[in-house]
Every structure is written in C-alpha cells, then in structure tokens.
C-alpha cells in the first residue's frame, strides 16, 4: 500500500525543523519527503492541511498491566489507547506479574500484542535481578536474544551494592542499556508525599529528596566504576538534575528522563488528599518542577516518558496513604507536550524530540523520525483542537488522571504504525 500525506506541517525532531513537506509511504517504510520517488502513485491520500505530521511517539516507560493485573488494563486496551494518543512504540518495565526475568514472559507479551493486532510496537525491559529481588542476576544474554531492549530493577533495591555493581557490569558486558530509578528504600520508608510544609500540614508520611539523590549519587559512582551505559528514569528532584548535569559534564555514559506530570504538578496540587495526585516518585515542590523544566530545556534531561499507570477505579478510592500510586497518562502526554511549547519551555521540534528520537536513540529502537528508509510510524495532530480533560472519556482503561478539568490543545487525528493506519 502506498500512502501520500500532503499539505501537513512536517516536524523533524532530528533536524530540529518544521516545514510544509509531503510524506510518501510505501509498504511499511517512508520512501520520500517533499517530492515523490520516481513512479510513486498513492493508493491513499491523507490531507493534513492545518495539521502537524510528527513521528510516532516513543514512550520509555508505560505499564500495560499485563501479565498480572488485567483487572486494571491489558495489552489490547492500552495499545489501542496508545496509538489513539499518538504513541507508537512503548516500553514495558519488568515489574509485571510474573516479572520479565525470563523469555517466556517476553514471548507472552509479544503473543498478546500480536493477538491484539500489533497496533503498537511493544518492547520489553528485562529485570536486572531474578524476580526483581536484587540478589541473583537474570539470564540477560538470553533475554537480549529474545528482543529485550534494556535491563532495570524497576526501582526495587538490590540486597547490596556489590550485586548492583555486578548486575550493571554484566549488562554492560552483553552491551545492554541499564535503566535505574534511583531510590533508597530505607529513606522512602512508608512515605507517600514529598517532605514539605504540605506533608507537615496533612500529617502524611513524607519522602525526602535524599531518598532519590542519595541513591542517585551511589548509582552515578557505580556508572563511573563499571562504565555501564545507564539511563536514569523518572527523576523528580532539582538536586538530581544538578547531579546528572555534572555527571554528563564529567563524560559519563548516562542519559535521563522525567515523567511528563512532574513538569506540571507539585505537592500543592494534592490539595486535601487527592489520591489521583499520588505518584511514585512523589510530586515535588515548585522549585523542583522548575529545575526539571530547566533540565529538559538545556538537554540535561534527554527524554520525557508518560509513566503510564492505569488503575481500576477502586485503587484510588481509598484514604490517601492506602491508595495506589500512578497516573493514567497516555491521554494527556501529547497535549501536555504542546503545553510545554505554549509555555515557551521548548520549541515544537524540541518537545517532539524528547518524545520520539531521543528515547528511541537511548533505547536503541527503530523509531523516532520521519525519513526515507525509516519505519512509517507517523502521527497527524490537530494542534488547535481544544478539549476539556475528563478521565471518564479516556481511551485508556485507566480513568485515573491527575489533570481532570484541564483545558488542552491538541488531538491526534490519525496514527500510522509501520505504514498501517491504526487510528
């Protein structure tokens, strides 16, 4: 099948440019930009006048709840929600039930995705340690051969620093990316909110910045020691941004991301115990939010992920400390990205880069740009479509939004994955 996308504003995150260029697709690939390749005859033409044409978004961390928690969501429901919201590649962290620590679980996930019609590219992040228990290494080479793209312990602790060092070294030895969510579980304790005047007023168990930064300092040292290529996921603190900036300046092979909601919300948004604002890591202060925005703008933070965590309604219908953390984030990822442009944090190509080519390069995925020879994962966006955010209308099965009642601009009109119109 040949497709022509004409009259759109093509956003190129690689060249950091935008231009009125037509896109030519043949089969699963982009075959031309601007002018058609010789003899190209479109079987289908999409008129994108007034719309953006962007590469499909790459989400470095999204929980689809399958296997193990299909009462919350599943691969079919969430991959459909992803493509409806412009996300065409997504990475599942290893804390599924069972854990992604063996090839059978990886096969299961791909099988379920195939059954759901392969609407979206799904990649697995393997566990660094068996059952994420932090004691014994996983069969990383086998998991790599089976298509796993990186290894992580999903924020769970190792029994000691020696095991963490070995896990990072072994992953580096099989030339795999390590993903770390810096977290000191002792300092986290039973905390559920940022330690601040808000936690003091509400009497909620608090999580100090050091619960992240003390772990991050150690993790950075282990990168320096092992040379393991490492990505730091879902940073939340100003001091973390400083540490990453410094470590990059020292030449360490590291990259970092934050979750989109951390660029918009703070601990004050918790109000009077709003469980939809319960996240892990917690929403931090205004100061931290600004530092994360600065880090995104100056490149210290390379990419932004959704940290999508769909929940069944009951998971949030509990007193605050007993509710489950996480936000259903697919439906708000792109409109929040557009808001970063509206608030002059990033240009259009720059914000798209944070959500496409940058995570694709970090994770080594064949995605993130619209260019001849690349997979035709393409999203057509109406940037001016105005809408009012209500969780009940979400495409995701998780209705647990932290942005209820927000006014957004930007909606996906169409999504192509490998040259197929999936939405």
């Amino acid at each position: 099948m040949t497709i022509l996308i004409k009259n759109g504003l093509l956003i190129d995150p690689v060249g950091a440019s935008e231009s009125k260029s037509d896109v030519f697709i043949d089969g699963n690939l982009v075959v031309g930009i601007g002018k058609p390749p010789a003899g190209f005859k479109p079987q289908q033409t999409i008129d994108a006048k007034g719309y953006w044409v962007i590469p499909g978004l790459v989400d470095g961390q999204a929980r689809l709840r399958e296997p193990g928690q299909t009462h919350k969501a599943n691969i079919a429901s969430e991959s459909a929600a992803a493509v409806k919201n412009g996300i065409t590649s997504l990475c599942i962290p290893p804390d599924t039930q069972p854990v992604i620590d063996n090839t059978a679980v990886v096969d299961l996930i791909h099988h379920r995705n195939a059954k759901a019609g392969n609407q979206c590219h799904i990649y697995t992040i393997g566990a660094l340690s068996q059952a994420l228990e932090g004691e014994h290494l996983c069969n990383m080479a086998s998991l790599k051969a089976n298509g796993t793209i990186a290894f992580s312990n999903a924020g769970r602790p190792f029994i000691n620093n020696l095991v963490q060092r070995r896990a990072m070294e072994y992953a580096a030895g099989v030339d795999m990316l390590v993903i770390i969510h810096p977290r000191d579980s002792d300092l986290y304790a039973d905390g559920c909110v940022h330690e601040s005047a808000v936690s003091t007023r509400l009497g909620l168990p608090a999580i100090p910045e050091a619960a992240e930064t003390a772990a991050l300092a150690k993790d950075i040292e282990l990168v320096a020691q092992t040379g393991a290529r490492t990505h730091f996921g879902q940073l939340s603190c100003a001091r973390s941004v400083d540490m990453i900036r410094q470590a990059k300046a020292n030449g360490l092979p590291i990259t970092a991301d934050c979750a989109m909601h951390q660029l918009f919300l703070t601990d004050h948004d918790i109000g009077e115990f709003d469980t939809n604002k319960l996240t892990m890591p917690p929403l931090r202060s205004q100061y931290d939010k600004q530092a994360l925005r600065d880090g995104v703008a100056d490149g210290t933070i390379d990419s932004i992920c959704s940290d999508h965590q769909p929940h069944e309604i009951d998971a949030k219908l509990r007193p605050f400390p007993s509710a489950e953390p996480g936000i259903s984030a697919f439906d708000t990822l792109l409109p929040l990205a557009i808001r970063l442009v509206e608030e002059n944090i990033l240009s259009i190509p720059a914000v798209i880069a944070k959500l496409s080519i940058n995570p694709a390069r970090i994770l080594g995925l064949p995605a993130g740009q619209i260019a001849p020879g690349e997979l035709a994962d393409i999203v057509i966006v109406d940037p001016d479509a105005h809408w009012y955010c209500e969780g009940k209308n979400f495409a995701s099965r998780g209705k647990n939004t932290a942005f209820e009642g927000w006014d957004f601009n930007g909606r996906v009109k169409q999504t192509l994955v490998a040259g197929q119109i999936v939405y």
């Binding site: 005047a197 003091t200 007023r201 909620l204 009077e272 115990f273 509990r318 007193p319 605050f320």
Partner: protein
C-alpha cells in the same frame, strides 16, 4: 472538591467535623459555648437530653482507643442516640473488604452519624466524601493528620482556666511529628488568636517546616517554658526509640521531661495538660502529673461535653430547652 468546604454546608453550617483547619473562629467559639451549656447535664440526676433521640451513631475505631471512644459513647448516650460501636481492626476489613464497602454496608443500616478513627491521614475526609448527603462524619483521629475533638476539649480546658487566648503563651512539648493532636491544637489556638504558640521538641520529632503551621520553635525545654501560661505535654511512643528517632527514654526525659523544677520557669499559675495516655517518668514526672497545676483529669471530663456540643451543632439542635 475542597475538603475544607466539605465540613461546612452552603450556609456555613457544620455538617462534618473533620479537621480544625478550614473552620473559623465563629464555629470554634460556638462549640466552646455549647459545651459549656452541656457541662450542667453531667450534674443532673438523669444525665440525658433528647437531642439525638431517634438518631443512630456508629463508632468505627480502626485503631484502639480508650478515652476518645468511651467519651464519645458517653456523649452519644447523654444525647439519647442509638449507638453501634465496632472494633473494625478485627472485623470486615481484615477479611479484605474495602473501606468504601464498609461505609456503604453501614450506611445501609441507616446510620446518621459516623465517628471514625483510622490509621490513615485523610481517612475522615475520605469517609465524608463518600457518605450519602445528610450523613455526618466526625473525625476521632486520622493518622498523623488531625484529632479535632481532642483539640476542642483542650481549648475548652484552657478557656475554663484562662479565658482570653489573645494574652496567652502556650507551649506544646514532644512528638509533634507523629501527633494528630498537636496539628489540631495548633490550628485551633491560632484561630483564636493565641498570643504565642510554642513548639518544643528535638529535631527528629519535628516535621519539616513546622513553623509554617504558625508556631515558634524551641529545642530547649527550659527556655521554651519561660513565661508560658499553658504547657501541653504529648505522649512519647516507645517505637520512636526503635526507629532511631531518639536514643533512649532516659535521654528524652533528661532533655524534655516535665519536672516541677522546669515547670517553675513557666508562669506561677500555668496549667499542665496531656491528651493521654501519659508515660510517667518519660515525658512527665509523676509529681507534676498529679500536682496542683495539672488539669489532665479535668480534660477527660470536658471531653464528654465538647463531643456532645459538636454532635448537637451538626444536627442543628443546640438548645437544652427541649426537656422530657
């Protein structure tokens, strides 16, 4: 939905009693005045008024309690309510029933008022958000957040002895971090424009930015007690030692225990209070606890009238003229 407004209906009348924060001076004063009118009930031969006759009150204690629970029950009985008391820590929720289902099941029994104590901060707000309109929720202590009826009875006790809050210096001593009582007291004292609210505690028992609650911080008991009119001691729980917040009970007593010698730094007519249960020899010396400046047992008695007052105001009937 703002929980601050959750407590008040559209006319500013109290419909739930969840936290002192979010209330106003007028309501606080109304509760204190009403409680005063109820103290005489305790002296009657028949200690009952029919204000809650025909109403059913459920006391749900998901955490153990002796004096709060028994004074609530007595207050309900004196108001002629029908009472259902559940020790929920040993019932349905341990069988996996969600808190929300527990609420709805009890509602199906036509409960008019819930008194709830739960380990989670915010649990009373949660209850209030999910009960049917017309059903009221009273917070008997939620996690480390608030314990508003305790603060009200403390205020009542202070007013009984001292009258004008705007001239008082009041010190709260001890484990502020884990104390729902302290949070409620601080908000309540500030609502009544108390001249100075001091907090005296070791650093590990103070939450961050404690000053933001509107208090002066002291880490030295002797300095902190100078010229105060009221000393409120807080209970020190043994688990504070095992969780490395303090080295030992003895070190705590040496630094922060209330002795007569230290109390003498305060004004000569200063009163000593404690929400109970007290640890003699840890946060307070026995001779002070039983001394003539102590009003600790009075607090307990006032707890009944204050809780009667809150429940009466919520049902919109505060007058005592209704008689059998």
């Amino acid at each position: 939905m703002s929980a601050k407004n959750l407590q008040l209906d559209e006319n500013g009348k109290l419909q739930h009693f969840l936290s002192i924060e979010g209330l106003n001076q007028q309501i606080i004063t109304e509760i204190l005045d009403t409680a005063e009118s109820f103290t005489s009930v305790a002296d009657r031969v028949i200690k009952k008024v029919p204000i809650l006759r025909g109403k059913t009150v459920a006391n749900l204690f998901f955490e153990p309690s002796t004096r709060t629970r028994s004074t609530f029950e007595l207050a309900e009985q004196r108001l002629s309510a029908d009472i259902l008391s559940l020790n929920v820590d040993t019932s349905a929720t341990t069988k996996g029933e969600s808190l929300l289902d527990t609420i709805h099941n009890l509602e199906a029994m036509q409960i008019d008022m819930f008194v709830i104590r739960h380990k989670d901060s915010g649990s009373a707000h949660f209850f209030a958000q999910h009960v049917r309109p017309g059903v009221s929720v009273l917070n008997a202590g939620d996690g480390q957040h608030e314990h508003p009826t305790q603060a009200m009875l403390d205020l009542y006790t202070i007013r009984h002895h001292k009258q004008d809050f705007t001239r008082l210096k009041i010190a709260i001593v001890g484990d502020i971090m884990h104390s729902r009582v302290a949070r409620s007291q601080i908000h309540a004292l500030n609502l009544l424009n108390t001249a100075e609210v001091r907090v005296i505690a070791p650093k590990t028992l103070l939450p961050v930015d404690t000053e933001s609650l509107g208090v002066q911080l002291y880490d030295d008991l002797e300095r902190g007690l100078r010229d105060v009119d009221v000393v409120i001691m807080l209970r020190l729980q043994k688990e504070r030692m095992s969780s490395a917040l303090l080295p030992s009970e003895n070190e705590y007593f040496n630094q922060f225990g209330l002795t007569q010698e230290r109390l003498d730094r305060a004004n000569p007519d200063a009163i000593v209070m404690h929400p109970g249960p007290a640890n003699r020899g840890v946060e307070i010396e026995s001779s002070v606890m039983d001394g003539n400046q102590s009003v600790i047992l009075q607090q307990v008695g006032f707890g009944i009238s204050v809780r009667m007052a809150v429940m009466s105001i919520i049902v919109g009937r505060t007058g005592l003229q209704v008689s059998e």
